[in-house]
Every structure is written in structure tokens, then in C-alpha cells.
Amino acid sequence: MMARWTDYYLDENFSGFWARHASEDGVRILIILGVGFDPRCLMTLQSMSALGLGDRLGYLALKLVTRPSLGDSGMVTTELTKGNLAELLRIDGCRQEALFDVEAQDTEGHNVVGRKTLSAMAGGSEILKKYTDVVVDISGMPRGMFFPLIAYLLRHVDRGVFRNLHVAVVEDPLLDARISGREYVQADYLHTFRYQGENRLVWLPVVGASEAARLERIYSKIKGSCVEICPILPFPARSLRRVDDILIRHAEILFEGFLVSLDNLLLCDERTPFDVYRKILEVEEYYHERLGAVPGIGRVTTVVSPLSSKTLSLGMLLAAIERSLPVCHVEPGTYQVEVDNEGRLLGSTNCGPTEIWLAGEPYGP
């Protein structure tokens, strides 16, 4: 079966790519970004605004509105978000198309960020028509937000509402290590990736640094139908020992808790979303063919869970879009961020955005 992203476009020289691409005639670029506490959320826009595109560069910001937080960690993230918002308004060389508030949770604490994001986008659908290229900067967006958003925009680009769809992401494992999720909500399927049916399930979680609690929650949700688990681990990764650390930390839950067979571990290159994408498609096909014929099992559905870096999550998303796979996830309700005495995030990132071209000209006939 021919996959949509068998050939792909990925460029780590983000500024260089956009300097070239933006110089083409008629190119108008819209950046869609999520504004929260993460210091990386503005980096793509800052980098693009330095290109001097003037009115040809616009942005649509989705401000994450979380429920009132209690305690110090809540105050820290609130202050950092305020700081990022003020910084956003100070960025020159681009035009603000819209700034939408997007609620992350409803009054009962259930995750509604995906649905609210799409409602906001539907309200601003006219904006998309004014641009040739739409860049979704997922650096400051939770999975519950960018999964449905990219699926929604892919449909629009396929219908010709705009010409090209790109994704930008700033990855920094060191910074990620200073941010940890707290107060996890219940495991649930992400909006537009909900599972409805009675098939047996094959579960493909991509496992990050410390995810035992989330793995357990997702497993609790699907265990009634789950017949096979294939954990995905990052290898090669920026640090080659990362896979060992992850395995050691999760050995008990994976091998003794879920009885995962060693043969089921999948290794995927952490630096590109397309490796994990390809492997998920292969695994999905394999189980579809092999288990489908087994009496008592029948048709199986592959469920994916993005519990690792944004890049790997993006690969999962592409596979989920292409094969209509359900995505089961647990979003943190709050975050714990390490800050100094002044309330500034400890450590800063030296990494820049990566360009991933998802749809449009390179994929044309």
C-alpha cells in the first residue's frame, strides 16, 4: 500500500528554508501557534519575523486557558504564560490575524482542548484563505490541541483552501526534563481520533522518559480489548543511552505489568517523525493481516498513544490520519516547571525550529 509520506520534506535549517521559500512570488505565510508557559512557543514566529516579510507574515495565536491553578506551580505557569503573551504582542514584522482563547478543560475537568481549538479555527476559517502557506508551530501546543488541528488543516489543504501546510517544532530534551506533567486527567481518545467499535486492539505507545503513570492509565482504559502491545522507544536518539534509561525505568510496568514480549519493542529514530510513521503503518498492516485470520480475534484496530517527544508524536499523528487510527492519551492537568528565584525558567534552549512540510507543492503530481 502506497503511503502518503513515503517521500517527505524535513529541513533542520529552518531560517534558511524559509528565506528561500518566502522569496518566491506571492508567498504569504500564516503561523498558527499555541501560547502557554513553554518558552519555545514563540521561537518559530520570532525566527520568521526576522526575515522581514512584513504583511506577508501573519499569525493566529491560540491562547491556552487552563483552570485556576492552586499552589506555587500554578502561579509559576500562570506568570510564564503572561510573560509569553506580552512577548508575543511585542514581536514586530508580522501581522496579528487573531488571538483566540482556547479552554483546555471544562468545568468538570475533562479535556476539551481539541474540540475548542477546532471551534475557534472554524470561526477564523476565512483567515486561512488569505495565505498560501500555513505553518503550525506545535512547540507550545499540547497533543490534544495539535492532533485535531493538523488533521483539520490537512483536510483544508487537500481541498485547496490554501497551498502548503507545514509544521514547525522546537525540540529540546534538556528543557523537557525541567517540565513535568501533574494531575493527569483520565485516559481518553483525542478529539477526532475517538475509537468506536468492538474490535480487538493492538496498542502502540511511544514511551518517553517517565511515563509509567500514563501508561497504566491508558492500559486501564483499553485492557478489556487489548491483545498485543508494541512499545515504541526512541533509538537512535540525541543521547544514545536514552533508550536504555527509558527501558530500565519502565521495565517493571512493561514486562511484569503488561507482560510485553521483548520481541515487540520497536525502535524509531527520534529525530524524524517519518520513521515512526512508517513503522506504525507496517505494524498496523502486519497485525491487520495476521490477527484478522485468527479465530476468536478477528479484525483488530491499532491504537496509538503519543507519550514522548513532539517529533515522534507528529509521526504518530501522520499514521493516525492516514489509517484513521484511534489515539488514546492522557493530558496533564497542570505542569511543574523548574524556575529560579526570580520565577524564570531554569535553563534556556539553544535549539531552533525544524521545518516539516506536510502537504502541498513537494507532494504534487
Binding site: 475537568g109 477526532t192 475517538r194 510496568i253 505489568g257
Partner: protein
């Protein structure tokens, strides 16, 4: 279950833990005793309430066709005879097979998420449609299953009648259809609901989905069992589980739909009502007994604590059988391997303890006899080890002396005063005190293991897993597998530490829950270890009156405080960090809702694991305790002084 290294760590616990046969043997008779024949055959609404893990889902699932068919298949086995008799007595089971068709529907996120569709789509009407579809699909599947197993004669062309046109039924119920046709239609509607829930904002409503003005499924099923000769002997029961997962509007709507008279029984299972759920299925205006009945599972298990111990023994036994190196260990052996501490205390520790007791008793008014007793014991055991029980007697006497000394007026002839009658609570308090004084293990043995599980099987397995790991290690090295009391306590403390560390990460409002637990632990420890053991054997819960709860939740005076209180308490109870029990002690009508700490947290703060010791804490203080560290003195003054309710 396959043989594995440590079967206690397997997380696929749902099916193996409460597999049908075990569930039927252990829980079933107890739960079945709560039912009356009227509950099944006089159609009314039954509300099953209970805390997480209390067995709500298990009770509902008992009536699923699959479970009843399993019982029917085993009816000749002597071990199941009592159960079969009870089910037959309730007319649930006949010689030919099940007569009750339980339609189990879980209120999951897809049912809830309908509320988030655009208002133009009529979310409540769509909710009715999906509920109707699930009710019908489940019913059709069940009767086909019964027919396949020979328990029902279902003609090939069995046709289901439509609802009368006067009821303005929706398409699903407006025409006569065969079972196959109706099943196909329902499957299509369900599939389209999946598409609708996954749709983008500008997508149209799928054509097969017709919003329903109300829930028609109940009337439809009632009509079938009345009119269709093949189904006449069946009684469908529509059972909705996890109703608390729905949005408040949906819950209110459901209540209105289900309280309306129908010819078939309707059951709703809901978590024990706490705060935000207070209004849920309040059933005002309905007549208790005739129109509805409540079954409070927590109260049943409170009255029969031995049931969980029995259940735990069975779970441990089966897990041991599946653990590679411990296959030969029976549950009886396992209990033996959990050793008790020595009977004697080392001389050094005893000398230290006796010195401290002597010092304290000499400071107490009217404790001359005790001073003499301590001194005599010290001399007597100067050269030999002393028995723990002997020290326990002195500790008990010390507590009683403290109580006597605390009384307002000294007795004129203290030696002539009648000694305070011995009671088991004071004995236990003395044990708690002495264990701390001697650094002696307090939490050991199988009973402790089941107590710290807080009635939760997952918690039982995770604590037992640590002990089993140690036994496996020893078995592999061919060493004695016995675990000393000290080791057991250390392992339970580590489990308690892990549980405590995970609070923030695991629960909604986790940081506030952890803050509350920190403050409560400090406070409970202080009250428990007061020298006169005022609330023996210790305190590990706080109580509130229903009025206090309602006033705070209403939030008229302070909405922010109300929000914090409601969210933190609801989340803590939902996550089993706190468990709720109703105490009717005191004056008539002075019902108190008591929130007990999870028993593993009691281990962390070295508190006894019994239920019953609690104190009233004013709401304002409680809300503060959720937000910041509160000085111990303040907690003790405000909580202790305001009103000692016990």
C-alpha cells in the same frame, strides 16, 4: 493466567481478578442478599451507590447474559448450589436458563462528549438517540446469545413490533423489523455516532442519526416482552454504570427519563454522593419503595469487613499459583511466612523505654502505683530480656494515669479509686504508642496487608507485589522465604511512600490533595499520640455535618473557597485517597459524613488502620489545609477545641 515471575504485578487485573466464578462465589451471595424479588419484577428505579471499588459494576455485570449463562452452565456443581438456589428464588434463573436480560451500558466519554456538540445539533436529543441505540443493540445481542445457547426459542423471522404511532416514535422504533434488520440499523447509527463525534465543525449530521425527543428504548423493550410470545418470559433490566461520568445536565436529564414510569426495571450505578454529585439522582418527589430504591454498597461492606479479607485471600492464592517460584506456596503458607515480631524486647530498648515511662509517671499526679510498677519491672528485668506484652501493660497503665491526671479535680484517695475498665481501643492505643517508643513493627501479617489495601484490589496487589518480590528472590537463592515483621513494615512503608509521592501526579487537584494530606497527617499524628490517647486507638479521619457540606458547596458566601473545597474533596474521594463513611454516632439526626485517609497513608503517618477515630475540622480550616501548610498548633486548637464529636 500464565506462570510469570511475579503475578502480583500483572496489570491485566480486571478479568483475572474478578473472573466470573470467583466473583460469583465470593461477592455474589452477599450482594444478592440485598435484592428483593420486587426489585426485579416490579419495575422501578434502583440506584446503586458506592465508593470506587465497592462492587457497583460487579453487581450490575452479574445480570449480564454472559454471566448468567456461566452460572447456568455450572448449576450442577455443588459449590455453586447456594448461588443457583438464590438466583432461582429471585426468579432470575430457571431450569432452562436466565430469565433476566441485563442490559449493561457504561456511561463513557463518548456518551458524555455528545454534550459538547453544537447546540443546533440538540445534544440532549442526540444523547437520547445514542442511549436508545445502545439499549437496543445490547438487548438484541443478549437474546441472540440466549437463543444460541438453547435458552430461548427465537423464530428465524422474529419480528419486533414498532411503538404506537401516537407516541411519535423515531425511525428506529417506528416500523416492524426483524432482529437482524434492527441490529443492522442500530450498528449503522452507532457507526455514524462515531463519525459524528470525530467530525470537524463544518461537517453535517450523518443521515442515519435522528435526534430522539426522549428515551424510547425502555418503552420499546417493555412492548416487546409484553407482545412477542418468544420474549414473554424474559425481563430486561436497563443498567447504567458510572453515571457520575456524565455532565450535570445529562445526569439531570437521565434522572428525569429514568424516574418516569416504565414497565421494566432501571438501575443506575453511581459513585457515593459527595458534594458535586449531591444533586445526582436525589429522587425528591419519588416514593421510596414503590418507585425507587437505593442500595448503598459501602454500608454493606462496612457491616461485613470479613468479606474483603476472604476475597483478598482468594486473590492472593490465585496469584501465588501463577508465580513461577512460589507455585507450591498456598495462601495459608503465605500467611505463615509473614512472621510476627519476637515476643521479647532487647534489654537496651526495654531499658530506654522503661526509663522514659518512669520519668513520665513520676511527673503525673496520682500515679504513685505506676511509678512503683515501672521501678519494679526495671529491677526485675535488669538481667533478662523483657516480654513485649509486659511493657504493653505498663504503657496501658500510663495512658490511664494520663487520663486520670487530666481530670479537673484530683481524687482524695487515688489508690482507692476503681481502676479504669480495660477496653480494646485503649489496648490498641497502647500498642501503637509502645511500637513507636520501641521502634517495634506495628504493620505486619496478612491482616495488615489487607487492611492497608483500603478495600481496593489494585492496592492489595501492589503492596503484596513488593513482599512477593522478596520471597521470589529468596526462593531463587534457596533461602528461607519467611519475611520478618520488621521487613514487612519497611516494605509497607516504602509502598506508602510511593503512594504518597504519586498523589500530585495522579489526581486532579493533586497538589492540593497532597497539601491536605500533609496537614491531615501532621494533625492526626499529633492527636493520636497525645499522651492520654483521647480518641483511642487514634485518629485517621475528619467528619463534617451534611449541613456544612451543603452550605459550603452552595458557595453563597465564598465561591472560590467553595470551588476549591468541592474539587479537591471530590477528586480525593474519586481517587480513593479519602474514603467516605456515614457515622450516626451522637444525638439523633446528627449524622456525620466522615472522610478517612487511605490506609496506606495511615502507614506513612504511623497511624492505626482501624475505622472510627475521627475529628471535626471546621470547613474554613479545611480549605486552608488544602492550600498551604498550616501550623500544627492552629490545627489542634481549632479542630480539637471547636467540637469533639466523638
Amino acid at each position: 493466567m500464565p506462570r510469570v515471575r511475579n503475578a502480583f504485578k500483572i496489570r491485566a487485573a480486571d478479568a483475572p481478578i474478578i473472573e466470573t466464578s470467583q466473583f460469583l462465589q465470593l461477592y455474589c451471595p452477599l450482594l444478592l442478599d440485598q435484592l428483593q424479588r420486587d426489585d426485579l419484577f416490579v419495575p422501578k428505579l434502583i440506584v446503586v451507590r458506592g465508593s470506587p471499588g465497592s462492587g457497583k459494576s460487579s453487581l450490575l455485570r452479574l445480570f449480564e447474559t454472559e454471566t448468567l449463562l456461566a452460572v447456568h452452565a455450572r448449576r450442577s456443581q455443588p459449590s455453586d448450589q447456594d448461588l443457583v438456589d438464590r438466583l432461582s428464588e429471585l426468579r432470575i434463573l430457571s431450569d432452562r436458563g436466565p430469565k433476566v436480560v441485563g442490559i449493561y451500558i457504561q456511561c463513557d466519554s463518548s456518551l458524555r462528549d455528545i454534550a459538547n456538540l453544537t447546540p443546533e445539533q440538540g445534544p440532549l436529543r442526540l444523547f437520547n438517540t445514542l442511549l436508545d441505540t445502545r439499549i437496543v443493540v445490547s438487548f438484541l445481542r443478549a437474546i441472540r446469545r440466549l437463543a444460541d445457547r438453547g435458552c430461548l426459542d427465537l423464530p428465524d423471522n422474529c419480528t419486533l413490533e414498532p411503538l404506537p404511532s401516537g407516541d411519535a416514535p423515531p425511525i428506529l422504533f417506528s416500523a416492524a423489523r426483524t432482529i437482524g434488520q434492527l441490529q443492522e440499523l442500530c450498528t449503522q447509527v452507532e457507526r455514524d455516532f462515531g463519525n459524528l463525534l470525530n467530525s470537524f465543525p463544518d461537517d453535517p449530521l450523518p443521515r442515519s442519526i435522528q435526534p430522539h425527543a426522549r428515551v424510547y428504548g425502555l418503552a420499546f423493550l417493555a412492548l416487546q416482552v409484553q407482545r412477542n410470545p418468544a420474549l414473554r418470559e424474559l425481563m430486561p433490566i436497563v443498567m447504567l454504570d458510572d453515571v457520575q461520568e456524565l455532565y450535570p445536565d445529562q445526569r439531570r436529564h437521565l434522572k428525569e427519563e429514568f424516574i418516569r414510569r416504565a414497565s421494566i426495571p432501571r438501575w443506575l450505578a453511581v459513585r457515593t454522593h459527595v458534594l458535586g454529585l449531591e444533586e445526582l439522582i436525589s429522587l425528591e418527589g419519588a416514593e421510596h419503595g414503590r418507585e425507587y430504591r437505593e442500595i448503598a454498597l459501602d454500608e454493606i461492606f462496612q457491616e461485613r469487613p470479613g468479606v474483603f479479607v476472604k476475597f483478598s485471600s482468594n486473590v492472593v492464592h490465585r496469584r501465588l499459583q501463577a508465580t513461577e517460584s512460589l507455585q507450591q506456596v498456598t495462601v495459608g503458607d503465605f500467611k505463615e511466612l509473614l512472621r510476627s515480631p519476637d515476643e521479647t524486647v532487647t534489654r537496651e530498648a526495654a531499658t530506654r523505654a522503661l526509663a522514659a515511662m518512669a520519668k513520665r509517671s513520676s511527673e503525673l499526679r496520682g500515679a504513685r502505683a505506676l511509678v512503683d510498677r515501672v521501678s519494679k519491672t526495671t529491677e526485675e528485668y535488669a538481667q533478662t530480656p523483657i516480654r513485649f506484652e509486659d511493657l504493653l501493660g505498663i504503657e496501658r497503665a500510663l495512658i490511664i494515669s494520663e487520663r486520670r491526671a487530666n481530670r479537673g479535680q484530683a481524687a482524695l484517695f487515688p489508690n482507692l479509686e476503681a481502676p479504669e475498665a480495660a477496653d480494646s481501643k485503649t489496648d490498641e492505643a497502647a500498642r501503637v504508642f509502645l511500637c513507636r517508643r520501641l521502634r517495634w513493627p506495628y504493620y505486619f501479617g496478612f491482616e495488615s496487608l489487607t487492611s492497608v489495601a483500603s478495600g481496593n484490589v489494585e492496592q492489595l496487589l501492589s503492596t503484596a507485589a513488593a513482599i512477593i518480590d522478596r520471597m521470589i528472590y529468596r526462593a531463587e537463592l534457596d533461602r528461607d522465604k519467611a519475611i520478618s515483621a520488621k521487613e514487612q513494615e519497611d516494605m509497607l512503608k516504602r509502598c506508602a511512600h510511593d503512594y504518597y509521592q504519586a498523589l500530585e501526579e495522579k489526581h486532579r487537584r493533586g497538589s492540593a490533595i497532597r497539601q491536605l494530606v500533609d496537614n491531615l497527617g501532621l494533625f492526626y499524628e499529633e492527636v493520636t499520640y497525645r499522651a492520654n490517647a483521647p480518641i483511642a486507638p487514634g485518629v485517621n479521619g475528619f467528619g463534617l455535618t451534611r449541613r456544612e457540606l451543603l452550605q459550603t458547596v452552595a458557595g453563597d458566601e465564598n465561591p472560590k473557597e467553595s470551588m476549591i473545597f468541592r474539587e479537591v474533596l471530590t477528586s480525593a474521594v474519586a481517587g480513593n485517597v479519602l474514603s467516605v463513611r456515614i457515622s450516626k454516632q451522637g444525638q439523633a439526626g446528627s449524622e456525620k459524613i466522615v472522610f478517612y485517609l487511605n490506609r496506606l497513608l495511615c502507614v506513612r503517618f504511623r497511624l492505626p488502620v482501624n475505622y472510627g477515630g475521627w475529628q471535626h475540622i471546621p470547613i474554613q480550616l479545611l480549605v486552608r489545609m488544602m492550600q498551604e501548610p498550616v501550623p500544627l498548633r492552629e490545627m489542634s486548637q481549632k479542630a480539637g477545641a471547636s467540637e469533639v464529636l466523638l
